[in-house]
Symmetry: C2
Subunit: 65 residues, 2 copies
């Protein structure tokens, strides 16, 4: 599961910590998502999509055959 988090965050010129605060998660959670260490819960995915004004599908890329 890839995602465009880092790209979208940088386009807004904010730090991981700022995004973390906005989403009410820890900075490590943002870092871990950006670097693909784990996938977000569906609730966090919805929060992220809402924050960026996009759909989950536009941010998270499902890569199954």
């Amino acid at each position: 599961m890839k995602n465009r988090l880092e790209e979208l965050r940088k386009a807004r010129g904010i730090r991981q910590e700022d995004l973390a605060d906005a989403l009410e998660v820890s900075r490590q959670t943002i870092g871990s998502l950006e670097n693909g260490r784990y996938n977000p819960s569906i609730l966090l995915a919805f929060k992220i999509a809402k924050y960026f004004g996009m759909t989950i599908e536009e941010i998270f890329i499902d890569e199954e055959e």
Copy 2:
């Protein structure tokens, strides 16, 4: 987090067990999702969306303020 799983499954005239097989999860997982006992992982949400040919947002309803 509400969802339209039961409605969509019944519209296709299939059993929980059939949907479970198609999604490669247990029948209990489908039942638990339909009855709101827990939320799906984002990977399962993507699988479900793909199965029904819909987006995650069309199937799962985020109910935050």
